[in-house]
């Protein structure tokens, strides 16, 4: 599988065409010039695409360093570099609370999701039981279900029956019961582990639980890492959940939800809004650089292997 971070052994260029790197002895003269032109064309396109993907980040960052007044002008580069904008954002009342809530939601939620989803995925991938196919179909259906479909009864349940609206509980507790997307992704990953390993463990006298903990889990680490990252980011990015359950209590807001109010709290202070935006994006980007491989593997698993 192609990996984003594979720097030591670049993915074999299996696509054809006059690739510069493959110009062998039989290629010289015209063929060599065509290969060079091809190389230049491809890389020029690559740079153009890179500009499209990167420039928004650059403008966002530059604006975050402008003064209030300059952020309202058409200038692209700050006159004075206002690094203090970041301190202002950091010290905004509530910002640290939202940060803590987000970490709690994303961290605890991820932990609960992994613990609850692994056994289900294991059962779906490695056991033959009545209703297996139906269970898998239900998991996929749940994965595709828009959260809005069941939100009204869920809201009434949490808010009216348990009186827990304005807290993080309605967001975190459901994650202790398995998450459909995580189950599906993990199942896809576990399918790639050969059954022979499990059979060997059983022959050696391992019970099911021990087989899962001692044999499957260590081999499933990359899949678990991918699921954990996706779950962390989906909680980090979630807007709808906090909007439904926490909107009336700013002490329970998360960064994604609070970020937008930031713009409101500061009217059109685009510089501070963009600084806050950078602060919300930064952890995601930093985490990505530590775990690129798991991430890309996860994306590929959802799309390609079935």
């Amino acid at each position: 599988m192609a990996q984003l971070t594979d720097t030591t052994a670049p993915a074999a260029p299996r696509t054809s065409g006059a690739a510069a790197g493959t110009a062998g002895p039989r290629r010289g003269g015209v063929a060599g010039r065509r290969a060079l032109l091809h190389w230049i064309g491809v890389h020029a396109l690559g740079v153009a695409a890179a500009l499209f993907f990167v420039l928004p980040f650059v403008f966002l960052f530059l604006t975050s360093l402008m003064s209030d007044q300059q952020a309202l002008t058409r200038d692209l580069v700050p006159d004075t570099w206002e690094w203090g904008n970041y301190a202002k954002v950091w010290n905004t009342p509530g910002f640290l609370t939202w940060w803590r809530n987000t970490l709690l939601y994303a961290g605890l939620g991820t932990l609960l999701t992994v613990v609850s989803s692994v056994p289900v995925a294991y059962a779906l991938a490695k056991f033959r039981f009545r209703g297996r196919r139906l269970s898998l179909l239900l998991v996929i259906a749940m994965m595709m279900l828009p959260p809005q479909v069941v939100v009204i009864p869920m809201y009434l349940f949490w808010a009216k029956q348990l009186d827990l609206s304005g807290t993080l509980w309605p967001l975190i507790v459901p994650m202790a019961f398995g998450d459909a997307f995580s189950i599906f992704l993990l199942r896809q990953f576990l399918l790639t582990i050969p059954d022979e390993y499990l059979d060997a463990a059983r022959v050696d006298g391992c019970g099911e639980l021990r087989t899962l903990l001692r044999v499957v889990l260590p081999m499933a680490k990359p899949g678990i890492a991918a699921v954990a990252l996706f779950q962390f980011f989906s909680a980090w990015n979630d807007y709808f959940g906090p909007q439904i359950y926490a909107s009336d209590n700013p002490a329970a807001w998360t960064l994604s939800y609070g970020l937008e109010s930031f713009k409101g709290a500061h009217h059109t202070n685009w510089n501070l809004t963009m600084a806050a935006t950078v602060l919300v994006m930064a952890p995601v980007i930093v985490l990505f650089f530590f775990a690129q491989k798991a991430f890309v593997e996860g994306v590929t698993l959802t799309g390609v292997k079935g």
Binding site: V150, L156, G303
Partner: protein, 293 residues
């Protein structure tokens, strides 16, 4: 399986049945629900002013936004398999926007595409190109959302890249010997080989378009100058309902107008549409997600 079964019952089956039940009642969450037959259903389809604009927008997004994302994702995927120098750096740069949290990315794009002061229009005008009103113009708000969605195409790039690298090399070599040009090779070898992945990208894209919520909501609110987070009432879909989607309609009618019965009808329409496309993903034969049996 059993914790998941409890979760399935509590967080899926029971609420789904409740949604169906509430859709036949007049219910504001305070007084007990009163059965009113098909009243909510006929209201949604005939009189409710937000429903059909949201459906039309969804259709637009399904056709244009999904198509743009798939075509662009495939293009970037093809490009990345051909880049020889600095491939790792390019791949990372192309992928990063996919990771940007939706609220943050949307806020950034409303600013960047701001017709008055945004850098994008500054650059467009400097280049002598027309500078549209983007999120403030009903004709341009969905194209603006499409630009935002195309910016985050990194997930599709990775999926296409993996599929492209799995196309058997021999087929290209054979075609080249037969004198097939680049377009012929793409048309007769690449496309047939990756068509299941293209279909997968289209169907999951359609399902995502049905659920499109955070970006259009935040873009509409911020462009309209609504103070975020305060829970204040606002007319969704600014400008002129052009960014309204079905999930926003559920939120508006349910949680701002406290008409849970009507909200449940819209939720069920959303459910029916999503499940129809999910079924396409899972058809027993030729399904895009294998169930292993």
């Amino acid at each position: 399986m059993s914790p998941w079964l409890i979760g399935f019952a509590v967080f899926f089956a029971y609420p789904l049945l409740s949604t169906v039940y509430f859709s036949f009642t007049k219910y504001d969450g305070f007084r007990p629900p009163v059965f009113n037959g098909l009243d909510n259903w006929s209201y949604v389809f005939t009189d409710y002013p937000l429903f059909w604009p949201a459906m039309r927008n969804t259709l637009w997004l399904v056709v244009v936004m999904v198509a743009c994302r798939v075509v662009f994702g495939l293009g970037v995927g093809l490009l990345i398999t051909r880049i020889k120098t600095g491939a790792g750096v390019f791949r990372t740069l192309f992928y990063l926007p996919y990771l940007a949290p939706p609220v943050a990315a949307t806020l950034a794009f409303v600013f960047l595409l701001n017709p008055g002061t945004g850098p994008v229009n500054t650059l467009l005008e400097a280049a002598g190109l027309p500078a549209p009103g983007w999120f403030t113009d009903a004709d341009w708000s969905k194209p603006a959302l499409t630009v935002l969605a195309v910016w985050g195409v990194g997930d599709l790039m990775v999926i296409f890249m993996a599929a492209l690298l799995d196309v058997p090399k021999e087929q290209y070599e054979a075609a080249e010997l037969d004198g097939a040009g680049a377009w012929a090779r793409f048309r007769h070898i690449t496309l047939p080989n990756i068509s299941p992945i293209i279909l997968f990208a289209v169907v999951t894209g359609v399902i995502q378009a049905m659920q499109y919520y955070t970006q259009p909501l935040v873009a509409g609110k911020v462009a309209a100058g609504v103070i975020g987070g305060s829970g204040q009432q606002f007319e969704p879909g600014y400008p002129d309902k052009s960014t309204l989607t079905l999930p926003q309609v559920v939120y508006n009618v349910g949680f701002q107008r406290f008409d849970y019965g009507t909200a449940c009808v819209v939720a069920l329409v959303l459910f029916a549409l999503s499940m129809a496309f999910t079924a396409l993903l899972m058809r027993r034969r030729g399904g895009l997600i294998g169930t292993g049996d």
